[in-house]
Symmetry: C2
Subunit: 264 residues, 2 copies
DNA sequence: TACCGCTTGTGAACGTGTGCACAAAGTCAG
DNA sequence: CTGACTTTGTGCACACGTTCACAAGCGGTA
C-alpha cells in the first residue's frame, strides 16, 4: 500500500519564522491538498534524477558495509559531488535527514527507490542481438537488478529461436505482440543505425514508452515517449576534443612565456 | 579542499548532459594575441561539443547523399535540435556559413573534425574483456572510425594471449608498457566495478589522459585526466523514473483527489 | 546598380542548475 | 536545562546554456 502522507512543501509552512518580506513574491502554496509527491516528482531536474541513481548505488554499498547513517559530506564525497548539491538533490524528494546527525541509510535508499520507481519491476526488451545486444542480454538481470530482460528481438532468421542469456530471440515482427504480452516498459535499441527508426516505431506501437537507444541516430518519437541515448562515437569524439585541447594548451604554454604562477 | 572533479555523464539527445564540475579556470584576463582557435576551443561549452559530434555524423550522411550545401534549418531538423542552437554551436568554431545560402557541407565537416581533433588518430585501449569489453573490441575500428582499438587487457590468465577482434589480449600488469608503446590516448574501462579504480590508476600511470568508464563507480583521477562515464544502471533508472512519473500522472488524472495509491 | 528575399551570426532576455552561506533543528555533555 | 557543537535544509546570487529576434550580409533579379 504505501499511502503517501502528504508531505508539505519544503518551504517553512508550519513554523512561521517571520520570513522577512521576501516571501511576497511567492504565491500562496496552500491551495488545494494537491499532493506534493506527485507534483514534486515532476519538479525534479533531470540532472538531479541521474545523480539520485548514483547516490542510491553508493548508499547500497554503504549499507552492505554496515553503515547506518551517513552525513551529506560523506555521501557526497563518495558520489563525487559537492555536498550542497547533494543536499539540494535530496531535498527534492523530501526531508529525510536529521540535523546534527545525517541521513539514515535505509530510509534514504527506500525513498530514492520510491521516487525512481524501483519498487516495481520494469521489463526490458533488447532489440538487435549483435555484439552489443548480446552483451546486454548476457548482463542478466541488468545492472542494479529490478530490470529483468524479458524479451529479445532480431531480424536475422538464424538468430530467431536461439536462446541468448537464457531467453529465446524473437523476430522483430513480433515486437508488438510479445512486448504487450510481457508488459515491457523499457525498450533497448542495439541495432545497426539504418534499422533503428523502424524498430523504434514498432516499440512505440507496442506501447513501450521509454527507450534507451544505442544506435547512432536521432530517433523521431511521439511526445509521450521518453528517449535516452548512449552514443559511443559521441563519447569518444568528446574525449578526442579534450585530447586536442590539451595538446593545444601544451603547445601554447610552451611557445608563450612560461609563467608558472598565475595569480588569481 | 579542492573542488570535486565529477565525471560527466555521457548522454546526449534531448536530455541535457548532467554537467558536473564545469571546469572554468579563474577568470584570467587572457587577452593576449589572437590565435583564436585555441582560445575558442576552450570556450566551447561541453554540451555544444557533444552536439557538434552529432552534427558531424548527420553531415557525413548528407555528404554521402550528394548534398553540397545545407541550411541551419535542414541540419538542425536532422540533428533533432532547434536551429538557433545549431547556429550558435557552429558559431563557437567560427563563421563558415554564407548568409542567404547556408553552409558548405565539406567545409563544415572539415572544421568540426578539426575542432574535435579527429584529424589525428586516437588509439584506444579496452580494459576488461567480459561481455561488454568483447563487444567493444569487436566493434572494430570503433564507431565513426578514427579510433582504432590498439590494445586489450584483462586479468584473466586464460584470456591473455587470445586474440579478440584481431588483437591479442594482454595482462593488465602490462598496461603501462603497452599503452606507452602504442601511444594510447583513450582508455576504455569495461571491468567489474571493484577493479575499475585500480585499472584507472594504471591507465593514468601509463599516461592516458582520457578515460571512458563503463563501470558503475565514481573514479578518482588527477585533475589533468578527463573522464566520461556511461552508466547503464543510471540510464535505466532515469527511464524508470519517467515511467513512474507517467503512471502517477495517469493515476492523478483519473482519480482526482486521491492521496496515494501506488501499485504493489 | 538597386532592390528583394533568404539565411547567417549574435546581442540580449530568459530559464535552469550550481554553489555559498547561514539559520533552524537536532544531539550530547554536564 | 542550558549551552556547545554538528549537520540539515534552503534562500540567494551567480553562471551557464537555451531561445528569441533582428541586423548584417549575400545571391539573384531586373
Amino acid at each position: 500500500m504505501a499511502a503517501q502522507r502528504g508531505q508539505r512543501n519544503g518551504v517553512g509552512g508550519d513554523t512561521p519564522p517571520a520570513p522577512t518580506a521576501a516571501e511576497i513574491t511567492t504565491p500562496i502554496p496552500r491551495v488545494a491538498e494537491v499532493p506534493a509527491a506527485r507534483e514534486r516528482a515532476r519538479a525534479i531536474p533531470e540532472a538531479a534524477v541521474a545523480r539520485l541513481a548514483v547516490y542510491l548505488r553508493v548508499l547500497s554499498a554503504m549499507q552492505e558495509q554496515g553503515a547506518v547513517t551517513v552525513s551529506s559530506e560523506e555521501l557526497s564525497a563518495a558520489a563525487g559531488v559537492n555536498s550542497a548539491k547533494l543536499r539540494k538533490d535530496l531535498s527534492y524528494i523530501g526531508s529525510y535527514g536529521t540535523r546534527g546527525v545525517g541521513y539514515e541509510v535505509t530510509v534514504l535508499i527506500e525513498e530514492i527507490e520510491r521516487i525512481l520507481g524501483l519498487t516495481r519491476k520494469h521489463s526490458v526488451a533488447v532489440v538487435g542481438i549483435g555484439n552489443l545486444g548480446h552483451a546486454l542480454a548476457n548482463y542478466g538481470g541488468f545492472p542494479g537488478r529490478g530490470f529483468p530482460v524479458s524479451a529479445l528481438f532480431d531480424v536475422d532468421p538464424d538468430l530467431v529461436g536461439v536462446p541468448v542469456g537464457g531467453i529465446a530471440v524473437h523476430h522483430i515482427d513480433d515486437i508488438p505482440a510479445v512486448c504487450a504480452e510481457r508488459e515491457v516498459s523499457i525498450g533497448v535499441i542495439a541495432t545497426p543505425p539504418p534499422a533503428a527508426q523502424a524498430v523504434c516505431d514498432r516499440l512505440v506501437e507496442a506501447g513501450v514508452q521509454c527507450i534507451l537507444n544505442f544506435a547512432p541516430v536521432v530517433l523521431q518519437v511521439p511526445d509521450h515517449v521518453e528517449v535516452r541515448k548512449v552514443d559511443l562515437a559521441v563519447e569518444l569524439q568528446v574525449l578526442s576534443f579534450h585530447v586536442a585541447r590539451r595538446a593545444d594548451d601544451a603547445a601554447a604554454m610552451e611557445g608563450r612565456q612560461v609563467n608558472g604562477m598565475v595569480v588569481s
